[in-house]
Amino acid sequence: MSHDKHHGNDHKGGGHHFILSYKSATLVGLTLLVLTAVTVGIAGIDLGRFNFFVAMVVATIKALLVALIFMNLRNDKLENGIIFGASFMFLAIFFVLTFADLFFRGDVYWKEKGQPFPPIAGVVGKPKFKKAWNQTPEILAHGKQLYAVQCVSCHGADGKGDGPAAAALIPHPRNFHSNEGWKNGRKLTMVFKTLKEGIPGSGMASFATLPAEDRWAVAHYVLSLNGPAEKDSAADFAKIGVDPNKEDAGGSEKPTIPVAVAMERMAEKDTIRVTTIRRPYLMKEGTAEGVGAQIYRTQCASCHGERAQGGVEVKNLGGFPNTIVKTSPIGNVDSGRFQEVVLKGLPGDLMPGHGEFSVSEIRELYNHVRTLKQ
């Protein structure tokens, strides 16, 4: 590349300013564009782990062209080059020493590079089924395929709930050939919902990792096993957030949050949202039972006993299925502590938090417990 050497105007005391000619600039610009094409082109060829290095080398050549010629570092003072170069040296320090931790933590996180991610059938790509809640032979066939892979182990090849793992599962996996026990109704939307959310506490995991259309397909197949399903009302669709008038697989179903994220959000909200007021315990007119008594009877008595005396043997409370714990009496605490315990629970002591109660409800409950203990 040629540069026109241009002498600054004399009055400035003879400073030398280099002027990049239009021609050189254009040449560099074109080189940069060609190199961009090279980068894109090479990305399409599988060079294994070298793809990354090639991409970085090309990017660095481009960066050098920009820095040396466009920014004229080539003809600039050495100290400016050192200054700019130093930034990359310190950046390298940042990289190297941070990674000396992150990638050497025993086996905690360390994983070698370049591990290809195994593709999951039907995951990537555009939805194949429009309005997937409408049953078609294609979607049914697709559902059957998925069922064979995802569901057979528990629900059995025929959907009788007798897969190899079924014996160990309590509650038992659903028998799709029975119309019994469909809590939410034997409806397409409700099966879809179960697939999305799982049934916490049972062996039914969430399959939200499957795309919505796949879940629709499985739901279709499962219901096809035993006679016609109940009709889905518009309200049912609304419940799962699907607009049946929309085109794509999820309808306007808000795309599923990964279960993990959803659970965590719910969990988080519970601890923060102490002021949310649910009002099932409003004083009923004509009954002698106050709000506090109602709450106690429905929410507390099962563990703490009728008179807050404790000592009840409790199974399967939040922790492990077979843990047997004797509850303790409700202690003599002041109202502030009482409120805190009710709202947050006693983590580690199996006492669950009840963030849904309002402060006034807790006050009523507190007064009631005090009368019980007298």
Partner: protein, 342 residues
């Protein structure tokens, strides 16, 4: 002699590592005293001796290569000695013996929860035998905490989403104070616990779960009273009653069944949809990309929460995620169970 004299400033040294730590610390203290006297003593001496007086003339000295080299090299050598010494002790501090008893620790705002292999959990107090190595495998449910036991001179941050560990071998029975040393919010300073190091007799009582432990004093102090009685339960010194629960492995086994794990993972080595757990833990598996992966706590946890991240070769990525569906307590039980399938 020195260490005895200075030990007054330190908490009781209740483990072998703690005694070795004290030696290093005391060395540093006396080294510091030496250099402090050298520098500040020198300063005071010069300030008095060369104070401005009538007729006094300053000498023109700009440098002296010999002394400058000396005071560069000598500290450097000393520092390298200190570094090596520090690293050797540290290395033993963080490497537990393979036969260490394991207790799982969960830190949350603002308490410590302990989970034993026999399935019991305690809060605020952890019971360990003396003269046996104990390893705590720790995680946090919310924010950073740090598990700090001054008597053993150990401390380790407890990080959510990750397991860290700390180990010690108590040589003195009694209660050892535990602090949370990483700021964690409002009640950070109340996030305390006790490591209760039990003598062989007490440890048997605790293990059998049949006897009251009675009053256990602070380590290094004599017991006030030692009540031994018979009861169905072990009473911790905080009054929590613990009834015998299935041990951690049984809990894990139960969970593996109820959560459907066993549908795909066998415990007897037979190949189902997923790898068998038999002999899995502690060994290396070949992943689908040919890489090797050691099966440890973090890998099992990752495989439960993010199953498709590292698929064992020869298996399809079918497993759904259980992230958010397994509590920390359950996760520990599952890992412990999988570990036990030999």
């Amino acid at each position: 002699m020195f260490s005895q004299a200075y030990a007054a400033g330190l908490p009781i040294a209740a483990s072998d590592i703690a005694s070795r730590w004290d030696s290093l610390y005391n060395f540093l203290v006396w080294l510091s005293v030496f250099f402090f006297i050298l520098v500040v003593g020198g300063m005071i001496y010069f300030a008095v001796k060369f104070r401005q007086r009538p007729g006094a003339r300053a000498k023109y000295i700009t440098h002296n290569v010999l002394i400058e080299v000396l005071w560069t090299i000598v500290p450097l050598i000393l520092l390298m000695v200190i570094f090596v010494w520090g690293y050797v002790v540290y290395d033993d501090m963080v490497r537990p013996p393979s036969d260490a008893m394991e207790v799982r620790v969960i830190g949350k705002q603002w308490l410590w929860q302990f989970q034993y292999d026999d399935g019991r959990t305690t809060t605020g107090e952890v019971f360990v035998p003396v003269n046996k190595p104990v390893k705590f495998i720790m995680t946090s449910e919310d924010v950073l905490h740090s598990f700090f036991i001054p008597s053993f001179r150990v401390k380790q941050d407890v990080v959510p989403g990750m397991y860290t560990s700390v180990w010690f071998e108590a040589t003195i029975p009694g209660k050892h104070q535990v602090y949370c040393a990483e700021y964690c919010g409002t009640s950070h300073s109340q996030m305390l616990a006790q490591v209760v190091a039990l003598t062989a007799d007490q440890w048997e009582s605790w293990k059998s779960g049949k006897q009251l432990l009675g009053e256990i004093p602070k380590a290094g102090e004599t017991a006030v009273a030692k009540v031994a009685g018979s009861s169905d339960a072990v009473t911790t010194s905080q009054g929590t009653t613990l009834v015998k629960a299935p041990n951690l492995i049984e809990q894990g086994q139960k969970l593996a069944m109820t959560r459907g794990c066993v549908a795909c993972h066998s415990a007897d080595g037979s190949k189902l949809q997923g790898p068998s757990w038999k002999g899995l833990y502690g060994h290396e598996v070949i992943l689908s990309d040919g890489k090797k992966q050691k099966v440890d706590d973090n890998y099992i946890r990752e495989s439960i929460e993010n199953p498709n991240a590292k698929i064992v070769k020869g298996f399809a990525p079918l497993m759904p995620t259980y992230k958010g569906m397994v509590s920390e307590l359950e996760m520990n039980a599952l890992i412990q169970y999988i570990k036990s399938v030999k």
